[in-house]
Symmetry: C2
């Protein structure tokens, strides 16, 4: 392993929870030698990737990362990087894929990729997703701010016969989403539409939105093989979008996914 890689790996020990790190502490965290780590930090300081807090003498991330982030955002805007993942998801499943993002207290459609099977026909012709009745919405309730639940409970509109309209049932559904890592909306918003969704994150475990696959033909929803394929591709899409948005998939969610799905090469290769 090159010394550069070792040096850059040091940066991964900084986080909102641990914004400043002293030399000795960093050596302990990284299981590294003190002299070497010190020289690594000097290289990072020289290039502006870290700077020192004059008071505590500890190291923290430097301003250079802000510049690089602005260039990255300009180079690969959110929409562009998300679209690539959405197209891949669409191709892999043959179904319509949506990406919704949370703005204030509402889930808006951010981008979508229609299944060629539907001949370009819109099967989800809405601008925003109700929290209690859609797969995306359940993701928001399960992984987003707790305050969203209050909003959802105040508007339990019954869209179809299957729509969940009681607080008890909704809370139980949301808990299942947290436990399994997937949310399902079986004709709860539109008749004949079955949705499966997973959340995406834009920073250290902060919910940003949800990727959904909407299946128009409800007959296919019971085929376990197709469902599993869809779930695996959703996980891939969520990881990809989260990564491209500078976010981190929470460990708890990765564990939930691992439990929900049988071991597979695709899932294991995420390291």
């Amino acid at each position: 392993m090159s010394s550069t890689v070792k040096t850059l790996e040091l940066l991964s020990y900084f986080s909102p929870a641990r914004p400043e790190i002293g030399l000795s502490q960093l050596c302990r965290l990284a299981h590294r030698d003190k002299a070497t780590t010190h020289r690594h930090l000097q290289a990072l300081e020289e290039t502006g990737f870290v700077e020192r807090n004059a008071a505590s003498r500890r190291y923290r991330l430097g301003p250079v990362v802000l510049q690089l982030a602005q260039i990255r955002e300009h180079t690969v805007p959110r929409k562009t990087s998300a679209r690539a993942a959405l197209i891949q998801l669409c191709d892999a499943t043959g179904e319509t894929a949506h990406l919704s993002v949370l703005s204030r207290k509402t889930l808006y459609v951010f981008d979508s990729c229609k299944s060629p099977d539907h001949g370009g026909r819109e099967i989800m012709d809405v601008q925003s997703f109700p929290l209690h009745a859609t797969a995306s919405g359940l993701c928001a309730l399960a992984f987003g701010s707790p305050s969203l639940m209050k909003i959802a409970l105040d508007a339990l509109t019954p869209f179809t016969a299957q729509t969940v309209t009681t607080a008890e049932a909704l809370l139980q559904n949301v808990q299942t989403v947290r436990d399994t890592g997937f949310s399902y909306a079986d004709r709860t918003f539109k008749d004949d539409i079955y949705g499966i969704a997973v959340p995406v994150f834009d920073k250290m475990g902060a919910f940003a939105g949800a990727v959904t696959v909407s299946v128009a033909c409800a007959a296919r929803r019971d085929d376990p093989e197709i469902t599993e394929c869809t779930q695996q591709n959703l996980v891939i899409a969520s990881r990809e979008i989260t990564r491209n948005w500078g976010g981190v998939v929470p460990d708890a969610l990765e564990e939930a996914w691992a439990k929900s799905l049988p071991p597979s090469q695709i899932l294991e290769s995420s390291a």
Copy 2:
């Protein structure tokens, strides 16, 4: 020089204008060997600092920089880093210092640091700065979006006898600001207040706001030594805030400052 530093320097060749760079092109830009540069890029790719555009096979900044930027922003918020520079400016000049930021089409007071000389008395008790009558406003007109000039010309309110109220005079003043790198407001907004300001930038040459020193005692405005000291400290503050906000001071402005001020150790040490 360590190989890590050489590797990290490669990242500085990416910019909004040059978001993707091929191996050979990067070698030319950095005057580096191809084999070495290739290995450097591999280290950067391994750690997520660069990634490759699948289509063009060229390199671009990777998503890791977004994560680091979020942690940096959390660690050192804009206000915190700006305040430190403002306090230093205030201490060095003994005068009241303001930092204003441009939001939409208005310059708002972002933070201020009162001179101890004034005994905590507010000498600039406003929430926003008129573009045509304040030192901050002239900076915005000189270095901000050209569309600001239209807004300024539509509201040439005469605050004092010295306020510039004609388009010709304003345009000429703004040109002087561009040429010298400093803007002056000699009792144009408030009687007995003399302001000197410099701009700050939050990304690649994009105007973000202005740092102003406001002198209450107009008698001191003619002392060239004090003015020069103020200017030097303004330059230091602008560089510091711009750096901490992930911005870059345009080369043209650095040149203007160099011409306006006699050579000094403080200014030379910015490399």
